[in-house]
Amino acid sequence: MSETVQQTSAARAHNSRISGLEPAAAEAAPPASRRASGGGSVLHRDRRFFILLLLPGVVVSVATIFLPVLYAIGLSFYQANSFIDTPVFVGLDNYVRVLSDPGYWHAFFNGLIYAVATVVLQVVVGIAIALILHQPFRGRTIVRGLALTPYILPTVVAVFIWKWLLDPNYGLINAAAAFFGYPNIDWLGSPLLAWSSIIFVSVWHWTPFVTITFLAALQTVPEELYEAAKLDGAGPLQQLFFVTLPVLRPVLLVIILLRTIFMFNKFDIIWLMTSGGPLNATEHLPLLAYNKTFMEFDIGGGTAIATTSFIFLTAGMYVYLKLFPLEDRE
């Protein structure tokens, strides 16, 4: 019991340090109010400097993100065949239409399953690889570099490499399987195999991101925590679950949050591999929004799908951060 308390408090103290909230430093620094009363102009100057630093980022974000998002949300209330068509205001009709379409919910759950499956696998495999690469061994630097290769490749290149490897007629994988007497497999030909292939390629491509982030965080875990745990008789697994993971909890939470957002919105891998087929089995919301907007000339329907996806994702992030706050609640 006391061991657990000790470990938890050690881990919490460390968390505070890596979050930039080192207790000693926090105590030493004068509170903002004191500084303000001691010299209002300094605070004023700091604020102006702060705004000045923030301004370029805000301007760029507003111009390239917020305005286009607002424009897209605006389009979702209109009916139009193309961006050059004269739009007709239809209120919430597009939302009613897309939300009452079973295809929408099919795509929604497809996206959810894809995001959950790929994030879980990326995190588990990524952490496992990071732990291996954290161990000292000969050639570690080279192996660390090589482990990043899939992440460095542009997505389109990574997908086409795998599409050729998985090709049922000319692919290396089926050729190897045939050599051992296995039958030809159409890796993208059935819903289950298509999903498995997409998830595999997504995990292969993005796991190095988790690995490198986690590996970098591992460098910050003080060695004395492991030494103390060893002295208390903790084995490698106990060290992982009671020292490493609690200490790196904030990093892990951010990794999961970022990867979930990325994977839920991931368009290119699925588009390049199956375009949503076969039998629409791999169609998810980003693909559905694209198809509606650009393939079926339904600008309002497509932007309504994109807007609802944005709302769901924002709500999901809010719930996630409520359940797993990045900073410890004392």
């Binding site: 065949n81 193309s82 961006f83 050059i84 068509d85 004269t86 090709d167 049922p168 007629n169 000319y170 089926n174 030809n184 497999i185 159409d186 993208l188 030909g189 059935s190 298509a194 199956t274 375009s275 949503g276 087929g277 076969p278 039998l279 629409n280 198809n291 650009f294 393939m295 079926e296 000339f297 339904d298």
Partner: protein
């Protein structure tokens, strides 16, 4: 007389320097004053792109007008967003006969009726002109007719002839299908998306399937058409038994790879496949023949059209852009353009086939038997040209929506995978068409 000096510089030097400086400052304005046409091109083959660069240089030399070419394989989004952004293109090539009509409805292009009429409307092959509101909105240059390619050497080996109806077609596939030796009867596209909508609908049209009546009412599930469509779907399911693995995800590139590599005996495609054979397997040049899609009981053949056109944007340079198109026609540059890939680009004008420069091209001569078959597709008595873009009473966004949607692929995939009967798939298709049809 001695020149007075201004701050130690002679007046002449001062004036000379000032003039040079002013000219330098004015240079961007002078350059801007030169007319520039923006040309959005969707043909991506390096030979065509290189030709267009030469064409631009020649035109600039001759007419003093700069032509800036941008290449984008799928130009629709770039085109519409450029118009929305206030930077429309002056000249463009478009991959569908319906695209110019959509742009015309939005007042984004101008008609080319006068230019087509100068050539004579009767010189253009059937169903090649984008007509809307008594005007023609695109100048066609490539038919892109999807027909059937047969390995003639394999047919001869088995004592077979090019099939003439559905039964003999299946018999040919059955005889040539030898999966143990990695030789398959028929490669086709079944993947989700436009490839299947264009390159694998011939058997629907060969059984006279129609989507709409003259009032845009969907007739796919009316008794007669439903029966015809279900028959065509059942026939496609039969052909699927002779296809190489990977059918559900097969796109056009798989069709090319399967035929060119000798994996499949029969393939549907347009001239691009012939061009690919010449580039990658020239030894097959005399080992294949072409034919239209066959009807259930024989008779007039059918091909699926996919006309490519040039169009003129409604910008402040309409007249300059029209001049460029006229210059291309007058100087036979459209023939030169087609000759960059003579086996790929299927001329739309009857006169092109009489053009000496075209017919004396070494590749045209080498493949003249095949190109003569393609030329015969322009004869309406022999062949019907059909396709999704020809469904309905007139060109509209509806055809574009159906073409890009998963309508065709989902009907085919459900039947081939055994998830639905052909009749159920027709009902699914009809519902999809209704969902995507805008009667307004």
């Amino acid at each position: 007389m001695k020149q007075p000096k201004l701050i130690g510089i002679s007046r002449r030097s001062f004036l000379g320097t000032a003039t040079a400086g002013a000219a330098t400052l004015a240079m961007p304005g002078i350059l801007r004053a030169q007319t520039e046409l923006r040309y959005l091109n969707h043909e991506t083959d390096p030979r065509t792109v290189a030709f267009l660069r030469t064409l631009a240089a020649d035109y600039e030399k001759e007419a003093g007008v700069r032509v800036r070419i941008e290449t984008e394989p799928d130009p629709w989004v770039k085109l519409t967003t450029s118009i929305k952004a206030g930077k429309p293109y002056d000249f463009m090539s478009l991959p569908s006969i319906t695209d110019p009509v959509l742009l015309a409805k939005s007042d984004a292009i101008v008609p080319v009726t006068d230019i087509v009429k100068e050539q004579g409307i009767e010189d253009f092959g059937p169903r090649s002109l984008s007509q809307f509101k008594d005007d023609i909105w695109g100048y066609p240059y490539d038919y892109n007719s999807v027909c059937l390619y047969y390995r003639s050497d394999w047919l001869s080996e088995k004592g077979l002839r090019v099939p003439t109806d559905w039964d003999s077609f299946i018999a040919v596939l059955q005889t040539l299908h030898d999966p143990d030796n990695r030789r398959y009867g028929y490669t086709q596209t079944l993947a989700t998306g436009g490839d299947s909508s264009w390159a694998n609908t011939g058997f629907l049209w060969s059984n006279d399937v129609r989507f709409y009546d003259e009032k845009w009412d969907v007739i796919l599930d009316t008794p007669d058409i439903k029966k015809r469509t279900a028959e065509a779907l059942a026939f496609i399911k039969k052909t699927a038994d002779f296809s190489p693995p990977g059918l559900m995800s097969a796109k056009l590139k798989e069709v090319i790879a399967n035929f060119v590599s000798g994996t499949a005996a029969v393939a549907p495609y347009a001239g691009r496949l012939m061009s690919n054979i010449q580039d990658n397997a020239p030894e097959l040049a005399d080992k294949f023949v072409l034919g239209p899609y066959v009807r259930p009981k024989g008779g007039q053949g059918v091909v699926t059209g996919g006309v490519d056109v040039f169009a003129i944007g409604k910008t402040d340079k309409v007249e300059e852009a029209k001049k460029l198109l006229r210059w291309m026609i007058k100087n036979d540059k459209i023939t030169d353009f087609q000759l960059t890939l003579p086996l790929h680009y299927q001329p739309v004008q009857f006169s092109s086939y009489q053009n000496k420069r075209w017919s004396s091209n070494p590749l045209v001569e080498k493949y003249k038997d095949k190109l003569a078959v393609m030329r015969s597709f322009l004869d309406e008595k022999e062949t019907k040209i059909d396709g999704i873009q020809y469904q309905g009473p007139n060109y509209s966004p509806n055809q574009g929506r159906l073409y890009n949607s998963d309508l065709i692929s989902s009907m085919y995939q459900n039947v081939v995978a055994g998830k639905m009967s052909p009749e159920e798939a027709v009902d699914l298709g009809a519902a999809k068409i209704r969902e995507l049809t805008d009667k307004v």
